[in-house]
């Protein structure tokens, strides 16, 4: 069929267009000639269209089962559900590289849209983005081309990895990949603005791109943990797996960055520090790509592992080396005259927060690559698991929560210690008392007391802020609906502050969810015969029967369970386990029933000949707060970058003059 050669030509043409665009950009900047700049932009747009069509070609190849393409034959089959053929193209190494390149060119297109041609900052930034894009596209076209033809055409393909057959496949991988590539845009933008000495004017643009990138990364993390919770069948959402870590690290640094940008915006400080953060974030994003593809560290996410790690390693080394040199050469530009004057000030707290986030990221990085060191130095394979991260990162994250609850309510520049304590003492006392009573009632661990104290303290502060909004908008003239309108207007008039507060509320919810599952989660294994009943806490459940269905590529074992809570019948639920002989792999679908904020989770682990089964039963309190909290976080981040686009009239004027 035609898809293979067509896609191959398109991807190479697109690479050519982008290389032309880069060269023309260089000439345009050198000779200050708008013809070259215009030509560069056209070439970039053409490259964007070409690579988009090329991706569509690959998708069509999958949908029409074109097994003459090697990659399609390796990652799909006739038996797989029809709907998954539309997205199977990013399930392997080559296709996901193509996806990454496509998403970066889409981002480049958005980045250049409505920007003046004579805006040199944008032109300088474009150089960096184009370099990265050409690297990705070149790797795809030359070293890992998804359109390579098969040696012979098989009747049926290999099929997709069964773990990927899940609804999450539609959103988590693309969001995660877009997030990791999007880090390159703030990186390029801040380098470009430093070259052009224009960082003050481009700050709001940088802020918007950083927050959008951060938002995408957050969504990727949340979706990933939700997927792990529902499909992997072990009842957890975060395993500190190397690939999970590699997506967490850029997120941590971006979190630091979006906070310190505020300081640069409000107080004109931290210029150099921000540049360092953004360079580091880009380094971490590339590290993530390298860990995901290079297979240097064993991980459960080995869907896209390949021998291409070295190309990413080389690019990462070169880019970070150049960034350091760049940093040194431009150091004088980055010094800002204003300084931190007091420990108890917003900027000082943001600095502490930044430093702590960086530490968490570095500790996670070290834990992730430590096995590589031991392997190469002492030739001893070891693993670094959750015990390390929980013990080390857990307390630091709690300290960060304390900062979260204090910092948004501290003024800039300076505040007296006494007045600060005076204002906060009531909150501290109330939350401390409630936390102690709370954990005394449940006789919990002292960690619970600390966590609850921080949670209550922050909650009271936030409620106080809500109260402030309401009390300002209240007036006898206005009716109830109008008051809500005014409150909304207040929020949107200072969207960056209130968006931030909404995000922080979301983070608090996520934190409560994590605390609930890790301190309060219950787990037990039950071996049951069909018809047998068991009791766990206030749940009573009966294993009814097991249904076996055989399909062309897998066998499905479904166990039905009748569940009672507090003596009330709740219904019959099922958990299923599918065995895929071609992969010698099991995929589990756990039975998860939400009762309010508490999840009853069960999955079957062993099924014997006589239909007796072992069930892993878990009660996860507050776990759904993690997903809802993440939604709140993303909504808050979205609010904070409103309005999305600032009108640029200048642009249109410029074009008119040119005509």
């Amino acid at each position: 069929m035609i898809y293979g050669p067509l896609g191959d030509i398109l991807i190479k043409l697109s690479l050519g267009a982008y290389i032309y665009s880069l060269m023309s950009l260089f000439l345009g900047i050198k000779f200050k000639d708008f013809k070259f700049l215009l030509s560069s932009r056209f070439a970039a747009n053409i490259g964007f269209v070409l690579i988009l069509i090329s991706t569509i070609t690959l998708v069509l190849g999958f949908v029409n089962h074109d097994y003459s393409i090697q990659y399609v034959a390796d990652h799909s089959s006739d038996a797989m559900p029809k709907i998954y053929t539309w997205i199977a193209f990013y399930s392997g190494n080559e296709g996901s590289l193509l996806f990454i390149s496509t998403s970066l060119s889409v981002l480049l297109y958005i980045f250049l849209k409505n920007k003046n041609l004579d805006d040199m900052t944008i032109n300088y930034s474009k150089i960096f983005i184009l370099f990265f894009l050409i690297f990705l596209l070149g790797t795809t076209a030359i070293l890992a081309n998804p359109f390579n033809e098969s040696m012979y055409i098989p009747d049926d393909g290999q099929g997709i990895n069964p773990l990927l057959l899940h609804f999450g496949m539609f959103i988590h991988p693309p969001v995660q990949m877009i997030g990791l590539t999007a880090v390159s845009i703030p990186f390029s933008l801040s380098l470009g603005s430093v070259i052009n000495n224009d960082s003050d004017n481009k700050l709001s643009l940088l802020r918007k791109w950083s927050i959008s990138t951060w938002m995408i990364l957050t969504a990727g993390l949340a979706l990933g943990s939700w997927w792990a919770y529902t499909i992997l069948g072990w009842g957890g959402y975060w395993a500190w797996d190397p690939v999970e870590n590699s997506s967490l690290m850029p997120w941590l640094i971006m979190t630091a960055l979006i906070h310190s940008i505020i300081v640069q915006n409000k107080r004109n400080m931290f210029k150099g520090w921000n540049l360092f953060l953004v360079v580091f974030a880009f380094f971490m994003a590339q590290m993530g790509m390298f860990i995901n593809r290079g297979g240097a560290v064993p991980s459960v996410h080995s869907f896209a592992s390949s021998s291409l790690g070295w190309t990413f390693l080389i690019f990462m080394t070169i880019s970070s080396f150049l960034s350091i040199i760049f940093f040194m050469f431009n150091y004088s530009k980055l010094n800002s005259p204003k300084k931190v004057t007091s420990v108890l000030s917003r900027e000082s707290f943001i600095l502490i927060q930044n430093v702590l986030f960086l530490s968490v990221a570095l500790i996670t990085l070290m834990g992730t690559i430590y096995p590589v060191f031991t392997q190469s130095i002492e030739n001893q394979q070891i693993y670094v698991g959750r015990e390390f991260y929980d013990k080390v990162n857990g307390p630091i994250l709690l300290i960060l929560m304390v900062i979260l609850s204090i910092a948004p309510f501290i003024p800039w520049k300076n505040t007296g210690f006494k007045s600060f304590i005076k204002k906060k003492i009531i909150f501290i006392l109330i939350s401390l008392i409630i936390a102690i009573i709370n954990s005394w009632l449940i006789q919990g661990h002292y960690w619970i007391t600390i966590t609850l104290f921080i949670f209550y303290f922050a909650t009271f502060q936030f409620l106080n802020e809500v109260y402030r909004i309401i009390s300002v908008s209240k007036s006898k003239k206005f009716k109830y609906m109008n008051r809500i309108k005014i409150a909304f207007k207040m929020i949107f008039s200072n969207s960056s502050r209130y968006g931030g507060l909404i995000s922080h509320t979301g983070i608090l919810l996520v934190m409560l969810g994590i605390a609930g599952t890790s301190f309060m989660g219950l787990e037990k294994d039950f071996a049951l015969q069909p018809g047998e009943t068991a009791v766990f806490k206030n749940y009573k459940f009966k294993y009814v029967e097991s249904i076996v269905t055989t399909k062309s590529d897998h066998t499905n074992y479904e166990a039905m369970m009748e569940i009672n809570k507090n003596g009330k019948f709740l219904g019959t639920y099922s958990t299923s386990k599918s065995y895929y002989p071609r992969f010698d792999m099991n995929s589990t679908k756990a039975g998860i029933i939400e009762f309010g904020l508490e999840d009853f989770y069960f999955s079957q682990s062993i099924l014997s000949e006589d239909n007796s089964a072992v069930f892993e039963v878990k009660i996860n309190p507050l776990v759904s707060l993690i997903w809802y909290g993440s939604i709140v976080v993303i909504l808050g981040a979205f609010t904070s970058i409103l309005p999305l686009f600032e009108r640029s009239r200048k642009n249109k004027l410029y074009l008119r003059n040119e005509e």
Partner: protein, 143 residues
């Protein structure tokens, strides 16, 4: 003036009631692990996340579903019931499978440096803070 004060109190009471309701909800959500599981069961739950499945890429036996991890889980359950301590079980498994059976290395030998790294990083972090902060001060005084 009096009216205004009244209306503020009106809202404040709402806000207080709201936070109390919130705390009550939290109270009902939190309960104790001890009451529903025996001491040995809690020990088992902790131990199973510390042992790695020998044939999986990066999963502990708690997460993995393979035959060998089921056997290891049964082994740990039996030994806990026989009265072995956590250390005994771990060192037995290490002697049998090597140190790579541990999901996280102990704070000795090859794993010692891993546990020192965070301390080093935190020291560097606090130095960074103070340098960025005090550098600043010195310059100001000179000016």
């Amino acid at each position: 003036m009096k009216k205004q004060l009244k209306s503020i109190n009106y809202y404040r009471s709402y806000y207080l009631i709201g936070s109390l309701v919130l705390c009550m909800t939290m109270l009902s959500c939190f309960y104790d692990k001890q009451s529903d599981l025996t001491h040995n069961e809690i020990r088992y739950l902790e131990l199973e996340t510390k042992i790695k499945c020998p044939i999986c890429p990066a999963e502990t036996i708690a997460e993995s579903n393979t035959k060998i991890s089921q056997d290891l889980k049964d082994f740990i359950k039996n030994k806990i019931n026989d009265g072995w301590t956590d250390e005994q079980i771990k060192s037995f498994l290490v002697s049998k499978y090597g140190i790579e059976i541990l999901a996280t290395p102990d704070k000795k030998g090859i794993g010692l440096f891993l546990w020192i790294i965070p301390i080093i990083i935190l020291i560097i972090a606090s130095l960074t803070y103070f340098i960025l902060y005090s550098n600043i001060r010195v310059k100001k005084r000179i000016i």
